[in-house]
């Protein structure tokens, strides 16, 4: 039961957190003014034992080659698999001060949304420095986040290499997209947590950004962010492809059941059974694998039947 709750909450956040950042970035920055030396700049922080709060942060630290210094992660951190055995301090915005301190960290790397503030304040008061890392909702933000963590951990060169790798993946994605003359498929991003909780992604959402990076069009344009799914919205969006997180597909009982969801049977995507499932953090994490995620999505979309063929009656 606990497990289920954690998973559902982490996905909930995965989906919603980024949007909150978009609006609240400035607020987050001003409400927690980081003392000098806490943000960015390589300083005297001792990074021998790191606790990471936020899946992308965990991924970045691991990608910088410092995974063995991570002594604890939050419950959303499920990648890379070497870190699955690390103690979990709970959902990253609901951590317990003593829980984190019991791992004797020398440094806590925390997402801008990590908290509660009281707990972070108690961790700081006990003498453990906390470095807040800004949220990322686009490519620039994702790169900035890598740069900030790399400089905090004194791994600037490795950070630059990560960013270069991301840029290469994105360039490859663009080349792949440009090489095709087919009209870009209309993609509907569907978030599901069981058949009862269904959301679709509008414009200005994390999913929208990824769809565009992969050279496709978001089929939903009527609103910003994520909204609960309605049958009419899905039918009028007329997507050629349905894009989902892998965990979402599992939560509705597998790929066979996706097109039984309300409204989906009457879409062009249903006729060609065009469903793309991508790993959660790969698609929406905006971590170091952002480029890989975009490339994987672009490839998956190209492997599908041509939209023109599938929409013919």
């Amino acid at each position: 039961m606990i497990r289920i709750r954690t998973t559902s909450m982490c996905l909930f956040s995965l989906l919603f957190a980024a949007r909150a950042h978009a609006a609240g970035d400035a607020a987050a920055a001003s409400e927690s003014p980081a003392p000098a030396g806490e943000r960015g700049v390589a300083s005297t922080v001792d990074s021998a034992r790191i606790v990471t709060l936020g899946a992308p942060i965990t991924e970045i630290v691991a990608a910088l080659g410092l995974g063995d210094r991570i002594v604890g992660v939050d419950s959303t951190s499920t990648y890379p698999s070497e870190l699955l055995d690390r103690p979990r301090v709970g959902f990253y915005s609901k951590v317990s001060a003593e829980g984190v301190l019991s791992l004797a960290p020398s440094l806590v790397l925390a997402d801008a949304d990590a908290g509660p503030e009281v707990a972070l304040e108690q961790i700081r008061a006990a003498g453990t420095p906390i470095v807040r890392v800004d949220a990322a909702v686009d490519v620039a933000g994702a790169q900035e986040r890598i740069r900030a963590i790399a400089s905090t951990l004194d791994r600037v060169a490795e950070g630059d290499a990560l960013i270069a790798g991301m840029c290469a993946d994105l360039a490859e994605t663009r080349a792949l997209v440009d090489s095709s003359d087919a009209t870009p498929p209309r993609v509907l991003f569907l978030y599901a947590r069981g058949a009862g909780t269904l959301h679709v992604a509008g414009t200005a959402s994390t999913a929208d950004t990824m769809i565009q990076l992969a050279g496709a069009t978001n089929a939903v344009t009527g609103f910003e962010g994520f909204k609960p799914l309605t049958s009419e919205c899905v039918v009028s969006a007329a997507p050629d492809v349905v894009l989902m997180l892998r965990s979402s597909v599992d939560s509705v009982g597998g790929a066979d059941h996706v097109f039984e969801l309300p409204g989906l049977a009457h879409t062009p995507a249903a006729r060609s059974r065009a469903l793309v499932a991508v790993d959660d953090h790969l698609l929406l994490g905006f971590g170091p694998r952002l480029g890989q995620g975009a490339l994987a999505l672009a490839r998956a979309l190209r492997r599908l039947p041509e939209p023109a063929a599938s929409s013919s009656p």
Binding site: A23, G127, F226
Partner: protein, 358 residues
Amino acid sequence: MNARAPASDRSRHRAPGRVALWIACTLLAASLVAGIGVGALRVPPLQALSVLLAKCGLPAPAGFTAQQEAVLLYIRLPRVLVGALVGAALSMSGAALQGLFRNPLVEPGLIGVTAGASLAVAVAIVAGPALALSAFTPILLPVAAFGGALAVTLVVLRLGSAARSTDVALLLLAGIALNALGFAATGLLTFLANDGQLRDLTFWMLGGLGGATWSALCWVGPLLLLPLVLLPRESRGLNVLLLGENEARHLGVPVERLKKRLVALVALGAGAAVSIAGAIGFVGLVVPHIVRLRLGPDHRVLLPVAGVLGAALVVGADLIARTVAAPAELPIGVLTALVGAPFFLWLLLRARARARNP
């Protein structure tokens, strides 16, 4: 039982009450010691003692780290104290309300405390930025929760008051109606909330003692203590009220004033509890039941024992909540029910067996 019981009768009923109070106090003391001594961070008993002695200016028998000191003095100690006060306030409030309504299904939530607090918190979170309330962020939610709890309870009390007297059945129904209204309005605000606000709201509703700091204790402690001190003074009136309202009135109990005082004290205590710990279920409903099953309905015994036992339950449940999944934490509301419900069922089954073969 009658408030003016003969001396022999009184001593007969008081003795088990006193024993029970001692047992409850021992339980509470044990849970307090365990709550302070045990946690995710290992602090050996000798070090823990040293930290406390050093703080009191006494020579410490052993050395300790700054981290152990911080965890013990600034995380565990206020948390355990707030937990004890919250548990006592919820449980004693429940006991008093069950006596007032002469209905075992009543708990503080039913007169609008939780609904009012949730609604006010939802308003503060969703409309806070628009109302430029963000400057008060650290104390905004506790103050809103407390104010909401108090306001809705007063409305319930008002609605339940007929021309000259307070109709208990009407009070209960008004409570149910306002609960429905409050939760519906909260639901509406949840729908209007943006994604960050939605998460804040969800986490507030999950509750927990993670927000217990010394400064929070300074704010909320007096509000929690007041009903703990004043409610037991109403126990004679509550006892007479068990005979029925008219009977109590004829026996000279100022029933109207008693009712208003009780509801106000409960709103104060339960409202303060909700404001710092969110909605912790079960304690206010079942702890009084447990005590009543064992010791009978004499409020002079019931109120203090229920208070102490409620404190012990919340401190114990919180201890389990923060250690069993360490370094993560479970929601405490789950634990209070998980610890208390089996015990309650066992008592019920025993009572049933005794009724069958006396």
